[in-house]
């Protein structure tokens, strides 16, 4: 795992956020506020610019989108963003006017993660961004976990298929034509480790006769079968 454990300033400061609003006053105030909080801010003045940023190579992790913009509006941007095949989708907060609360449902249905009423209340916006950061962090650690599982799975797959094994010494032949001890073969290809022991039937067949042979000259010795081998 990487050093992303816990929700810290380090994670927050690395976050890129897109703000899209056609009104310059709201845009500037939002930009300034987010910069003060340590975000790296990208700006879009309308829906088309916002879409260019959201669909570009260096995509933001968070986006604060105005509901009503010329060109593409907030919900349409949400729909397009959700249709993209991204491993970790951008976290979208819609900005909406108080009188348009009914639109909130439509916005969330279109794929927004959250909404904030305009003009934004700083404390509320900050708290909602923190929720977004938490969700992103969860998705990141989930993606890490999936990657780990995929790695493990690819190793497990190496243990599938036909495995030639010597009928006498029980060595197996690997894909490079080497004959290996079965322990080494499995250890190289999985997380399994071997701990050597003796099964009861081998103990009876192999170990006990040897012990008895050793013990025979020293007659009268007790507890000979309890010895560790």
């Amino acid at each position: 795992m990487t050093g992303r454990a816990g929700f810290g300033e380090e994670f927050q400061q690395a976050m890129r956020i897109l703000i899209a609003d056609d009104d310059a006053v709201s845009r500037r105030l939002l930009e300034r506020t987010l910069q003060d909080w340590g975000y790296e801010v990208a700006i879009a003045r309308d829906g088309a610019e916002a879409w260019a940023a959201l669909s570009g190579e260096d995509r933001p992790q968070l986006a604060v989108l105005d509901w009503m913009m010329p060109g593409l509006d907030g919900p349409e941007l949400c729909r397009r963003t959700r249709a993209m095949d991204a491993q970790i989708p951008v976290y979208v907060i819609l900005l909406t006017a108080r009188a348009e609360r009914a639109d909130v449902v439509a916005g969330l249905e279109a794929g927004a993660d959250d909404y904030v009423i305009k003009p934004f209340d700083k404390a509320e916006l900050r708290a909602r961004l923190h929720v977004g950061a938490r969700v992103l962090q969860l998705q990141l650690s989930l993606a890490d976990r999936v990657r780990e599982l995929e790695d493990a799975l690819s190793k497990v797959k190496l243990l599938q298929g036909l495995l030639p094994i010597c009928a006498y010494c029980k060595r197996v032949r690997d894909d490079r034509n080497y004959w290996q001890q079965v322990e080494n073969y499995v250890t190289d290809r999985s997380a399994a480790r071997f701990s050597h022991s003796i099964c009861p039937s081998c103990y009876e067949r192999e170990v006990r006769p040897q012990l008895e042979e050793l013990a025979a000259p020293a007659a009268g010795r007790e507890g000979r079968n309890d010895r560790e081998c």
């Binding site: 056609d22 009104d23 105005d66 006017a97 305009k118």
Partner: protein, 134 residues
Amino acid sequence: MSVEGRGVSAVDAPALMTRLEGDRELLAELLELFGTDAEALLASITKGLASSDAPAVHRAAHTLKGAVANFCAPAAVAAAVALESAGRNGDLSDAPALLQRLRREIDAVFAAVGRILASGTTLRNGKPGDDSRP
């Protein structure tokens, strides 16, 4: 709702300065941005009225409402809302009067913010980060 500058300030100065954490430079910058935007949006509304384009009136009034709301100016917001509603409902019969009212309220906002900037006194009302709205 409208106070139209009769004795009551068009701008809630303490709330505004709390919102901006006392940053006058930022306030001056926002006022300048608003000057350019408001002029263009009022022109769009005037044009929309002339061509009976209700959606255009609705859109421009909506944007203007969002912009002026940042200055903690309830009367101007109310005037913009009235015009926005008229545009949304497609009924522009009262719109010229509403536009006149909006112009007055926006002028009042400019005057009030100008006074705040000129006053030079610290209007910071509350700790930074304390953004409770009145």
